[in-house]
């Protein structure tokens, strides 16, 4: 049985004189380093009412350059993807720049769909200069109205009625004469032609009446045969005549159509000529009017206004018509798809609901007798139509989550044309008759607004994306903070306040919001440009100022808004702190203990983040060189946390076990943690706990630690330093500040600190301490009060130093392992340097 008793007792190393001497060597932060204040007196204005509006988006110079480039670049594929977090003002900035640019651009063309008389299922698209489409539609409606009175009037003329009568009489006489000729021949044979219910029949005649069967049978047999043969012959003759009737009718109809054309052509041509003279400069419109002219001449019957349910007849036969009444005249309507009348500049359209149909347009149907029918008048425009010739702003995530909308948009951009296709038709879900409208040429800039992650995902997974969205507009989360930027920030606040119609803010209020901006950016040298956050704070401050009856928002109002907002969100933090204070969650804030340390974590609940201390413990024993992360073993630790723990093994092996096996088995755990742990900001705390356990050197529990560590023992920056410090401060303050408590933070995080006023005051009063730490050695000295120790010329750590103790413990583990493996007699035990 080997003994691993520590050569130093807790009482020896925990002596206050030693600790204080180390702390004096390692500088602690002054109170003025904990938060970068904004001096209201240096702002140089009284209220935001004195400040002019800010023209550009503050701190977004990269994004603005990209927008200007994207707007100016006229080549295909230079569409924009505006990326960045929600609320930084991407929409506002994009819209403002696009509207400025659009105002100087010409109003784009207007588009109509009209009937294609040759192929009605392929409606024609007509392009008009701005303001003309609606006029053309009205002119066409008037044309139809005029023709509805002009054409019937032409049909009522004596000339028309006479000539029509002639045609009808000619047809009737032709038919009657032919039948009568057969009838006359029949009479000569003693036979009569009868009109039967369905046609004609021949019968022998006696005294001008049909011969009875009895009389017929009394006739001589020869006479009977003669009559039968004669009737058979006459039947054939009549059949020959009746076979000709359809041909005569067709001929008569042809003549009637020609007559109709002749009679109405004067009316029609003069009306159409007026339109041609008005729109003749547009070749496609002129072509359309020519086809209208031909169609009207061919279908004059549509304009005759028959009574409801009454069909035009020709010699007792209905004239074939595809449509009737008002419906037939719809063919001459003009469906104005896009109308820019009265507008100035190019359109800037934001489509909030970019479904497939809302993007590329749709073809509506209506139910007729249980069937779904449609025509060109039921074509409806989409956002691409409305934005054609201008700019279209879309939320990337909405386009991507609407079925087929993304593909439809890409197809339109690639083909530079808008092809309206029913979604049901495209997916073969419905088989009802539909249309294939002529595609409309597309020329516009699309601006997608989305998260950065979406941009990178699309770039990776959609090969077309890079070709279609070549302009990356990357919005910053924050901006540099300097003397000049504070004033610029104040102008931003003034602009937002005016835009939201809020009371003016005095300079103390502005200064506090600037400090809040730093805090929100998580960096004393930065300012958050999260416009939505700022607007919320401004509005809430304005509210509290109103409650107090103030006409100018002051520091007190801003402070109250911040406190009340935090109060609304901090229920979980209060519950957790309560558990700590009641001893349910074990956190020490005083005393000494080996292998135990206060780590710090940040919890993010929605937009509210707060820090909380966690007890981290380490246990060591002889083993095979593994540091067991219990969080990972229990599947409560994330990969970054696991990585941090694995780095510890690298540090231990590299520093203490270069020439011998690391015969250590250690376990690390976040005590009383039942949720997941992620991040490596506790890795330095874990290492301190491990070193403390190995050296059996107790750690001051009045301190908490944050910071990650690398394999060389350098302490690295972490996020949320301010929240973590405040989290431990809250616990200590609740228990009573005693001047011993404090937090170790990475030295590289000092510039990020934006601590609360109460923390700053406590530090200023010497009640709380914040130690910037660059290396593990610095940190362990503060925590244990034992010098870390550096290797001397012989490569040995001085006796009594913490590193000496750790190295000796690990060597003992290694020796013991060797002894167990090979009988323990082959090598000498480890000897440290002789004590002086």
């Amino acid at each position: 049985m080997h003994s691993f008793d520590s050569p130093i007792s807790a009482e020896t190393v925990a002596g206050a004189p030693l600790l204080r001497s180390r702390a004096e060597v390692l500088r602690e932060l002054r109170h003025d380093e904990l938060c970068r204040r904004c001096d209201p007196l240096r702002l140089g204005f009284e209220t935001t009412g004195d400040l002019p509006d800010l023209d550009d988006a503050l701190g977004q110079s990269r994004a603005i350059e990209a927008i200007r480039f994207g707007i100016g670049m006229e080549r295909a594929g230079y569409n924009l993807f505006a990326m960045g977090p929600e609320g930084v003002g991407r929409h506002t900035a994009i819209r403002r720049f696009l509207e400025q640019q659009a105002a100087s651009q010409p109003v784009p063309a207007e588009w109509c769909y009209v009937n294609n008389f040759e192929s009605p299922h392929k409606p024609r698209a007509l392009q008009f200069p701005a303001g003309l489409a609606r006029r053309f539609s009205g002119d066409m409606a008037r044309l139809v109205e005029d023709l509805r009175s002009g054409i019937p009037a032409a049909f009522e003329t004596d000339e028309y009625r006479t000539r029509r009568q002639e045609i009808e009489t000619e047809f009737g006489e032709h038919q009657e004469t032919s039948v009568r000729a057969v009838d006359e021949r029949a009479h000569k044979e003693g036979i009569v032609l009868l009109r039967t219910p369905a046609g004609f029949g021949f019968a022998p005649m006696r005294n001008n009446e049909v011969m009875s069967p009895q009389d017929f049978h009394q006739l001589p047999e020869e006479e009977q045969k003669r009559l039968e043969q004669a009737i058979e012959t006459l039947q054939k003759e009549l059949e020959a005549v009746l076979h000709e009737v359809p041909r005569w009718r067709r001929e008569a109809l042809r003549k009637l159509r020609e007559l109709n054309r002749e009679v109405i052509s004067v009316v029609v041509n003069s009306q159409i000529e007026e339109l041609v003279s008005a729109y003749g400069s547009l070749p496609h419109v002129r072509d359309y009017l020519a086809s209208v002219q031909e169609d009207v001449l061919d279908h004059a019957e549509h304009f005759q206004k028959p009574k409801e349910g009454e069909q035009p007849m020709f010699f007792g036969m209905p004239i074939p018509q595809r449509d009737a009444g008002e419906a037939a005249l719809q063919r001459y309507q003009v469906n104005v798809l896009i109308d820019h009348a009265g507008e100035a500049g190019a359109p800037v359209i934001y489509e909030d609901n970019p479904t497939h149909a809302n993007l590329v347009g749709r073809i509506e149907h209506e139910s007729q007798m249980g069937a779904l029918v449609t025509d060109f008048t039921m074509i409806k425009p989409g956002a691409l139509h409305r934005a054609n010739g201008g700019y279209l702003i879309l939320d990337a995530v909405k386009v991507l989550t609407n079925p087929l909308a993304w593909d439809a948009m890409k197809r339109a951009l690639r083909a530079s044309e808008i092809r309206i296709e029913s979604l049901g038709q495209a997916l073969s879900l419905i088989s009802t008759g539909s249309l294939e409208p002529e595609p409309i040429p597309l020329q516009l800039k699309v601006v997608l607004v989305g998260q950065r992650m979406l941009y990178y995902l699309l770039h990776t997974h959609d090969p077309e994306f890079g070709e279609l969205f070549k302009v990356q507009v990357d919005f910053e989360d924050d901006m540099e903070r300097n003397g000049q930027s504070d004033l610029q920030y104040a102008r931003l606040l003034a602009t937002l306040a005016r835009k939201e119609k809020l009371k003016p803010f005095d300079r103390t209020a502005v200064a506090r919001i600037i400090e809040y901006g730093s805090r929100a950016a998580g960096d004393a040298a930065k300012l958050s440009v999260h416009a939505q956050d700022l607007v919320d704070l401004l509005c809430e401050s304005d509210y509290w100022a109103g409650k107090e009856g103030r006409s100018v928002v002051s520091l007190a109002d801003v402070q109250r808004a911040l406190e009340v907002k935090e109060r609304r969100a901090d229920r979980v933090r209060a519950r957790l702190q309560e558990q700590v204070l009641r001893g349910t969650v074990l956190i020490d804030s005083g005393g000494w203990r080996a292998g135990q340390i206060n780590g710090l974590s940040v919890m993010q609940l929605g937009r509210f983040a707060f820090g909380m201390p966690h007890r981290i413990t380490a246990r060591v024993r002889m083993g095979s060189g593994k540091v067991i992360d219990i969080e990972r073993e229990a599947q409560l630790g994330g990969p970054i946390h696991s990585k941090g723990v694995l780095i510890l093994s690298g540090f231990l092996a590299g520093r203490y076990a270069i020439s011998q096996p690391l015969s250590l088995s250690a376990s690390l755990v976040f005590e009383q943690s039942y949720g997941g742990i992620e991040g490596d900001s506790a890795s330095s705390a874990e290492l301190y706990a491990l070193l403390s356990a190995l050296a059996d050197a107790p750690i001051r529990q009045s301190l908490a630690v944050t910071g990650s560590v690398n394999q060389h023992g350098d302490v690295q920056a972490i996020g949320g330093a301010s929240e973590k410090i405040e989290g431990f401060f809250e616990v200590c303050r609740a228990r009573g500040l005693n001047g011993e408590q404090g937090v170790l933070i990475p030295a590289s995080n000092v510039k990020h600190l934006a601590l609360r006023e109460d923390v700053v005051k406590a530090v200023a009063a010497g009640q709380f301490h914040i130690y910037p730490v660059a290396t593990i050695d610095q940190g362990i000295e503060i925590l244990t009060g034992v010098p870390a120790g550096e290797r001397d010329a012989a490569g040995q750590y001085p006796i009594g130093t913490l590193n000496y103790l750790v190295e000796r413990r690990l060597a003992q583990f290694a020796e013991h392992m060797r002894a167990m493996a090979g009988g323990g007699t082959t090598r000498k035990p480890w000897r440290g340097p002789k004590p002086k």
């Binding site: 009657e176 009868l194 004609f200 039968e228 059949e239 009746l242 009454e310 035009p312």
Partner: protein, 233 residues
């Protein structure tokens, strides 16, 4: 005078529809009873009884054997159709109406029915020989095909036609909206014709009706020709 009874010849739709509508309109105006008469042409039955009777379809131009039973079925079917059309149209107006079927030769049956009526309404088709049978004292209102789908009316009377009935019918037609009323008087004696016209005009209400009524004398042959021409349309 007001008419008591108007007889309309019923034929299969759509040919007979115009006659029914005119007769219903007139009967409603004159508050007369309307009688729809469907004549089963006996000559068709005789023809169908012949061993070689074949019918050539007007539309199909095919020949098929017909016998008495099939013709009777066809006539019954046409009568039912005509009855239905009469009922449908007559129900639109507040009037008394009835339906009759007669079997015999068409013209004698029509004229026999006309003897019991104040007006006989029918299509002009097939009535070329009507004067040979000599219309009695009832005016005959013939419907002619006009240009397009329009129908016009023609009144046929003889010197024996009751001037009261003729004047009553003309007054009813004027009320129905006919602004031009042509009366063909089958009479070759000018003096008799003039006396008849004077008697009728004397019974017409003064005013516009006098101007809209045109009475023209024709011979029997002339009437036959006019009706033939109308028949061709």
């Amino acid at each position: 005078m007001s008419a008591r009874r108007i007889v309309v010849r019923l034929e299969a739709a759509p040919r007979g529809t115009a006659a029914i509508e005119t007769a219903v309109d007139l009967a409603a105006r004159l508050e007369a009873e309307l009688v729809g008469l469907f004549v089963e042409d006996v000559s068709l039955l005789q023809w169908a009884a012949l061993p070689f009777a074949r019918e050539i379809g007007m539309a199909s131009v095919t020949s098929r054997r017909r016998d008495v039973a099939s013709i009777e079925r066809s006539l019954r079917s046409l009568a039912e159709e005509a009855h239905g059309a009469l009922a449908r149209i007559a129900e639109r107006a507040p009037l008394r109406w009835s339906f009759q079927v007669a079997r015999g030769s068409v013209l004698p049956e029509l004229l026999a029915a006309a003897e019991q009526a104040d007006v006989l309404v029918c299509r002009s088709t097939g009535l070329e020989q009507i004067t040979a049978h000599g219309p009695a004292d009832t005016p005959l209102l013939l419907l002619r095909n006009g240009p397009g789908a329009k129908t016009s009316v023609l009144t046929v009377c003889t010197a024996n036609t009751s001037t009261d009935k003729a004047a009553g019918m003309l007054g009813g037609l004027a009320e129905c909206g006919y602004d031009s009323l042509e009366v063909l008087l089958v009479c070759e004696d000018e003096r008799v014709a003039r006396e008849w016209e004077d008697a009728v005009r004397g019974r017409l209400e003064p005013g516009s009706l006098q101007k809209s009524v045109r009475i023209r004398s024709v011979s029997s042959a002339g009437l036959a020709r006019l009706l033939e021409q109308a028949d061709r349309r």
